[in-house]
């Protein structure tokens, strides 16, 4: 039997899944850090957002890679889930999953689907407007002007979204809780999928994973709550 293509074996699929997930983990840390600037200093937040929004490398290399990464991750996630579901055609009358595995590890698809729904909302909230603003209305775009003139747009948009909108803040917070659950298992799992496991490093990876899965979503929750509460 010749070795088959990249995604044709279960282990290779999980490896690809882990790679895309680790990429998303790096992205998420960056995203949270930049958002945190909106609490610390609106000016710096705008400057950095403007850079991210107009730099060609970010716009035309990193952004497509990110979109591909997200889509790849959830599509492969659905494929894996389907295959796993059909690997047991007749289900148990009694199945005690909690006896031997965490809720997080058994329900990656549930936490994942919540994140996906959130991404829909989040794209609607910010990204669609951003793209319309830049490419359809042709404002602020380096393509049109050669130079950006976005001013306080990013910060104002962000403030505006959370002004007096309690349901939106709650939706964001609930989504971040599911993100925490997804990452609580996912962070550690990704290393195992790649075969990175050792007596020395695995306990450290586990600790970093727990810290990451708590602190990053908590950061996002803080930011959403901050912009809501300070505009009451």
């Amino acid at each position: 039997m010749a070795s088959k293509g990249l995604l044709s074996s279960s282990i290779a699929r999980k490896f690809a899944m882990a790679l895309s997930a680790l990429f998303l983990i790096v992205f998420l840390l960056q995203h949270m850090s930049i958002n945190m600037l909106s609490v610390l200093s609106p000016d710096v937040f705008n400057e950095v957002s403007d850079f991210m929004g107009t730099n060609p490398l970010v716009q035309f290399v990193l952004q497509p890679v990110l979109i591909f990464g997200v889509c790849f991750h959830f599509i492969v996630g659905f494929i894996l889930e389907y295959k796993n579901w059909t690997s047991r055609e007749v289900k148990y009358a009694k199945y005690k999953g909690s006896a031997n595995a965490s809720w997080m590890s058994r329900n990656m698809i549930i936490s994942g689907v919540v994140i996906l729904l959130f991404l829909g909302l989040h794209f609607y909230d910010f990204w669609i407007h951003e793209i319309t603003h830049k490419f359809i209305e042709g404002k602020d775009s380096f393509i049109v002007n050669g130079e950006s003139e976005s001013g306080f747009r990013f910060y104002e948009e962000l403030r505006h979204k959370f002004a007096g909108d309690f349901p939106r803040m709650i939706l964001y917070i609930v989504s971040f809780i599911f993100l925490a659950l997804h990452l609580n298992h996912g962070f550690e799992s990704a290393w195992q999928s790649m075969g990175a496991r050792s007596k020395k490093y695995t306990p450290i990876i586990k600790k970093i994973g727990v810290a990451y899965s708590v602190l990053v979503p908590l950061g996002f929750i803080f930011i959403a709550a901050y912009h809501y509460v300070t505009q009451l």
């Binding site: 282990i11 999980k14 690997s87 007749v90 148990y92 009694k94 195992q192 999928s193």
Partner: protein
Amino acid sequence: MKLLLKIWRQDGPKEKGQMVDYNVDGIEGDMSFLEMMDILNSQLIEKGEEPINFDHDCREGICGSCSMFINGEAHGPGRNVTTCQLHMRSFKDGETIFIEPWRAKAFPVIKDLMVDRSAFDRIIQAGGYVSVNTSGNTQDANSIPIPKEDADLAFDAATCIGCGACVATCKNASAMLFTSAKVAQLSLLPQGQVEGKERVINMVNQMDLEGFGNCTNTGACEVECPKGISLDNIARMNREFLSATAKGKK
């Protein structure tokens, strides 16, 4: 003690099955789970009913045949035990106990609690061996120096009895723990490394072909495995498989 048993009955591979209720009485805490099943079966035979089919052989935790999914867990609530090593003192008087066969597409039911685990045999046939000449002139194993740590790890992996509890318990019916133990017991040793790359690729391919699910790293298999086979083996197999695939088999 008295128990209410809810047991899966299925006449044959193609027949439709169902859970059926049975009452048993006079069960002692010191009896093994299989002895309890024997008592139930002798009662059924006396009544002229068909006894419940289940696999068993050694009744001392070494053959791996006693596959029963008891109260939602492979081999029941005990840790590091097979069904034959599980004692009735783990249950309370008057308790209801669910008893089901291993459930996996790759392990079709033969009858009642008996399942066909030949998918495991085919994974072994795909590469779980070392090609040696056994015509009488084999070299003494001790003439090949092996680090103690590797020998121990290989031995730990080799304690897998092929029971299938890992598959039964995994939410994805994945056979990664079994396959990885069978890869590791050879790949950790110099004799096994010669055919290491094609072994891991062929065994993983066969595992996929049999219709087992993917690994989500939940770790349920390690908890339910009667021999305490470690997830380290799965990570090792992932490494070996990925590097063998990247480098090409030979």
